[in-house]
Amino acid sequence: MVFCVRKHRKSSHAFLMVKKNIKSYLLLSVTIIMSFSFLLGFFVFIDSEIYNKHKITFSISPKVVVLIGPTDIKSNLNETNNNFNLLIHQLEKMDDTDFYMFYEKQFQLNHYQSGNLIINSNVYYIPNNTQGFYENHDGSGFISTRYLKGSKVIESSNQAIIDENLYNLLRAQGKNTDESVKITIPVAEENGGTVLKEFQVVGVVSAFAGYYTANDSRSLDSHIFLSQDLIKNTDSDIKQSRILVFSDRVSEVVSICDILNIEYFYPPYMIQRQALSEIQNQVFIKGITSIILFFLLAINLYSSFKNALNDRKFEIGVKRAIGAGKKDIVYQFFIEGMIVMVSSIIVSAIIILNLSLIYKLIQRVAFGVQWTIYLSSYSVIMFLFSAFFLSVSFSLIFAFQSTQIEIVKHLKQE
């Protein structure tokens, strides 16, 4: 049969009608796309700003906490500090928990000084073959080590990991080739004196601090990681010890410390919780703004759909006259409304994604900032809710308005 009369699916008819009315719908789509792009763009911008502000905070593993270890490390732990003993005993018993002690020492690398540049060094003595290091940063948060190149662990007492500023400085001084960078550091001897010792630089980490200028002299704060094997009981400069704990049960570790009266740096998971609550507080402002935007959008869409409907009154009149029920018309216009809304919303999402990528690129190229695009689950839910609610309600309003048409009024009269 050439003309097989099939019952056209009503939905495919709705698609057909969208295609036939593409011009009027394109105009409507522009409005919808602009509205939703604005809403989504607002969400992405606000969320990304907050996220980038707290990025470092969230980059630290919530499993880590740094405890302040015994101050008097020269004496035997077992005898002098029962509480640390108890703590270590507890930590050893806990599942999914690793910890190590490390020591901190500060000095100036005078022998590298050139011109008026002073190099201050923080040296961390860490156990061999341990990875992961976190520094408390101005007491306001933690900075985690980012390994840039080379080894992530120190394997023996003649190896060192240094930060990138120091690394670049050493290379600029020309005595080092790329393959083999060496650094000379004063170390303590058994007899209480110090001697300059050469270390092989095996790894480079991102810099925690950097250059600053004060009183006509320039300083560089640098970081060096060395093996704990180098520690001598006679090294009177080592005053600080820390215990770095990795655990799935950080809160438990913290409460043990509270009981044992052992100090710790404010744990990253708590800092993250604080940041989260700060983000939550912004939710209120975001909520108000999105409600206002939502209503502007609604008014905008209402008039747009009303206009679109005006062009269609004759069609509705005809369809009703030849027997289409109100439900049929509602269905058709609901589907049409949904098609237009959903496709416009998808286009909005694509536009905002691209704009964000461009903004990210500008931030990187022009300002050297690593700007991360971020959209919180709250915003996603808000946006999807707005999209869903507005799509459905306007498709329905559109559809129901379509039935308010008096048939004969809109048929052509000659």
Partner: protein, 215 residues
Amino acid sequence: MEDICIDLKDIKKSYTRTVLSAVNLHIDNNSYIAITGKSGSGKSTLMNILGLVEHFDEGTYIFNDTEINKKKDFSNFRLNSIGFIFQSFNLIPTLTCMENILLPTLYTDKESSILEPLVSLLDIKPLLDTTINVLSGGEKQRVAIARALILNPQLIIADEPTGNLDEENKNIVLNLLDHEHRKGRAVVVITHDMEVAKRSSLIYELKDGVLCEKA
């Protein structure tokens, strides 16, 4: 084929002036009615009321035992029982002929098997994929007729169905209406053309808002 029985009693309709004052009309399966009347006498208004696309002010209208009122929509009667050939065609301009003709089938589960014979009879096969916009008056008229008949309605209302047609096409359409009548469909046709009117079994003239039988 179900029987059809329509009774209009004292139907009144006014706009700024009274157009129909007291129209009485009975239609059943044997009816082949022609209605004539001056331009503006209310013929199309009467057909709109009969075809359930317009409300009347007073009187009673019984459609197959159902009393027609303002409250209900009666779209199922329009769809399944009435084939309306409008004076102004009322085809959707952006759709093709085919899409227009098949429009009623969107709203029903009934399958129509008469598209092919209808299309070849009305000689519109080459037009099927053409958009309505570009058609001539006569072509539109034939497409409108095809759409009205696609679901095999019991009552065919034809408002000036031959107004735009040449002699040849006029005969095709009139033969089609005759054929429908012989199949047991009720046909109501509005015309100024006595040749068309003579085919019917009953001729009315609409005058001063009432229907008068013509000899």
